[in-house]
């Protein structure tokens, strides 16, 4: 699995890198934040802070439950202005502040398909690299999650096509 850990310069810093290989069970996302690791960890584990960032910009998020300790559970509701609401929940398995969280993730729209998420925060000296790995129960489960809510007739420019190709050819 490729070079996600190096060659990331300042120009690409504010972007999320996705590694989604054909035929694999997992999705890996990498993002660098210009903030110390303790602060990033707090933002990702404080129930009062989750609604500030979790979900797309045009959606709101409500924390129904968030008990951040091994065996504790979480449940978020994500909604839009048209009244659509989506529930997500899971259980925390490992909480090792400020470096690591292992938890399950289940979208209530397709119950029974559970992913195991490992969030690793690396201290880059004032900056923090987040690597979020989701492992699904099957390739089909992963592909279904990616496809969930797909808009039909999504218009993509050739720029995005080129980006995709570069991304795909990187994952040798």
């Amino acid at each position: 699995m490729s070079d996600s850990k190096n060659s990331k310069g300042a120009a690409t810093m504010a972007k999320t890198e996705f590694i989604i290989e054909p035929g694999s069970h997992e999705i890996v996302m990498t993002r660098i934040f210009d903030a110390p690791r303790e602060l990033v960890f707090k933002a990702m584990t404080d129930p009062k802070l989750m609604p500030k960032w979790w979900g797309p910009r045009d959606h709101w998020t409500k924390v129904d439950k968030m008990d951040v300790r091994p065996g504790g559970s979480w449940r978020f509701i994500n909604g839009d202005s048209s009244g659509n609401e989506y529930g997500f929940h899971g259980v925390y398995h490992l909480v090792d502040a400020p470096a690591r969280v292992v938890q399950t993730f289940e979208f209530e729209g397709v119950p029974g398909h559970v992913a195991l998420d490992t969030l690793v925060l690396e201290d880059l000296g004032g900056k923090t690299r987040l690597v979020q790995q989701s492992v699904f129960q099957s390739v089909e489960d992963r592909d279904m999650m990616l496809q969930t809510g797909m808009r039909t007739g999504a218009t993509e420019t050739n720029d995005r096509l080129a980006e995709l190709l570069v991304e795909l050819s990187k994952n040798k």
Partner: protein, 118 residues
């Protein structure tokens, strides 16, 4: 989009040689000889890869010109891009918002940077 088409697109993309061929075609059409040049491979082996890409609808080959150039067909790739778009948007925008929040609570951090510059 029918799922079997997505599967054949992914099967075609699952090989590094075929991805390299597509990346080359993204910058313009090319002959089989040109496409084979960067690989230590026989022409029949390259032709085999091209056939897989052609069956998946990822490339098209001209019937008219004598050298039958290959060109990229973006349609199935657009499907792949659209297919992961919502998921990508969910997390990309979440992390953008997290970034905004982290910046908003770090005035001291920013001032310190300014001091260092002086």
């Amino acid at each position: 989009m029918p799922p079997d088409r997505l599967s054949s697109t992914f099967a075609a993309l699952a090989d590094p040689t075929r991805r390299a061929i597509l990346a080359r075609l993204a910058s313009g059409q090319a002959s089989v000889t040109e496409l084979a040049a960067p690989f230590e491979m026989t022409m029949p082996a390259v032709s085999k890869h091209l056939k897989v890409l052609e069956r998946a609808g990822l490339i098209a080959r001209s019937r008219d010109a004598q050298w039958r150039p290959c060109r990229l067909d973006g349609e199935p790739l657009r499907d792949v891009a659209g297919w992961m778009e919502q998921y990508r948007r969910f997390w990309d925008e979440s992390f953008d918002r997290l970034d905004d929040y982290l910046q908003s609570v770090q005035p001291v951090h920013k001032e310190k940077k300014e001091d260092e510059r002086q």
